[in-house]
Symmetry: C2
Subunit: 243 residues, 2 copies
DNA sequence: ACAATAGTGTCTGTAAGACAGTATTCT
DNA sequence: AGAATACTGTCTTACAGACACTATTGT
């Protein structure tokens, strides 16, 4: 059998998870400390190999549940992003990875698993501003994913996926502020969110803060897209009203 | 070596191309008639296997050039979309495919290649309305890609990638109309497109139609995103002014 | 003159940016 | 009463939808 054309690459495929949440007003990402070579001891995105008979969405859900315990009952948003396929991106051989974005509400710290020494929420901001801290090409994957999320908040109702089942309009605005790293005007946000049919629906319940008037609790509405979109402000900076 | 955990899947990877253009006022896609099994004789998207030492973007460009002759000098827009990984999607074995979107101006019919009996532009509309005509899961890939393109025209300057280097504002509007399958008002389109900084720049030249006033020719500007976006009209139908 | 395409101007409605003011709770 | 948070209303500006009108070509 002669080599008339170059050989097809034989590869292994991993699904790597970018699990984002908002904690303490910051966008945070779940990172593990790798327990095996390569990059043993380095920070990395959780992930794992595609198995026989399984598609990538299934692999991603399996890893999400296995490495973090998330997804047993109430599966959050899980979305395939893109493929990273540089031939030398993994020293073990030809491994292409498919990045997945998972959005979770503020959850308790996840448990460590076999493959990872520890898993912890880490602020995304510093990782974006000074890359080089993550294994493989995970810096790039993280940066691409965060920008994707930011853009997606503009024209979908995805922000509610960062929230627990019941949330206030203030909670929802804090999601936008953390992901966009930008201050918003709560009063205009009220108007936008309530006028958008099907974005949020009131539950009738209220939640009292430490001090101040109790806020109405909402849950997600059926709408998936925002018409018209809620745009990040590209030109003028914003000032928080009450300070 | 015992089998403590399920085996990692060993896969081959293909890059499949969704090459779109606008011809005769219609959105058209380049399809090949398959020359080999499986699906011999069926219509399919062009594509091919990832090779050793090559990343997927390179493979996609290679296929684009090889199967269509496009991309030698002036490479059009080429963008990775998503992965299709159902375990049974290819009867030859475990093959996952990465879909790529390529946008081309109205070009002469491509030449047939070794792997494909023939390649031809085909109207996308009928394929979308009555699926089941394409090999593998290419119906799904095409549908996903067209919707992606439609959405992307809203907030990027991508439409200009469907145009030759010099084009009129009328040409550009016909792109939007063909991709969105929606009529637009040329006069409002003028305003939108000229007020958007960096979308198009006049060349100084003009192009005379068969009859009527010659139109100013433009080329692409540096802008990549549209602020604010140009939205498809989600509620009201539109009426073409001059008929 | 007329048809045909290119391009400008104007009116109007919708929605976003800015921000004053009112409401409801706790201490 | 005062502080803190929740929420409503109003003014203004930006921009899209609709459409009248002018400009420049060929026949």
């Amino acid at each position: 059998m002669q080599r008339a054309r170059p050989p097809h690459a034989i590869v292994q495929v991993t699904a790597d998870l970018v699990i984002l949440t908002v904690r303490d007003g910051q966008l945070q990402v779940l990172l593990i400390e790798r327990g095996n070579e390569p990059f043993k001891g380095c920070l990395a995105l959780p992930g794992g190999f595609l198995r026989d008979g399984e598609d990538l969405d299934t692999a991603a859900r399996r890893e999400l549940l296995g490495e973090t315990g998330i997804g047993g009952t109430h599966i959050p948003h899980l979305e395939q992003l893109r493929v990273y396929s540089a031939p030398d991106r993994d020293p073990r051989g030809r491994v292409v990875t498919v990045a997945y974005l998972a959005l979770a509400p503020n959850l308790p710290l996840p448990t460590a698993s076999t493959d990872a020494v520890a898993a912890a929420w880490t602020s995304a901001g510093p990782l974006l501003h000074s890359p080089g801290q993550l294994a493989f090409d995970h810096d790039q994957i993280l940066a691409d994913t965060v920008e994707h999320s930011r853009a997606k908040l503009e024209h979908t109702t995805l922000a509610a996926s960062f929230c627990p089942p019941e949330f206030t309009i203030g909670d929802l605005m804090h999601i936008y502020e953390a992901v966009w790293d930008q201050q918003l005007d709560l009063r205009n946000f009220y108007r936008k969110v309530s006028q958008t049919e099907g974005f949020i629906v009131p539950t009738g319940r209220k939640r009292a803060p430490d001090t101040g008037r109790p806020a109405t609790l909402y849950r997600r509405g059926p709408a998936q897209v925002l018409h018209p979109p809620m745009l990040r402000n590209p030109r003028t900076g914003r000032v928080r009203p009450s300070q």
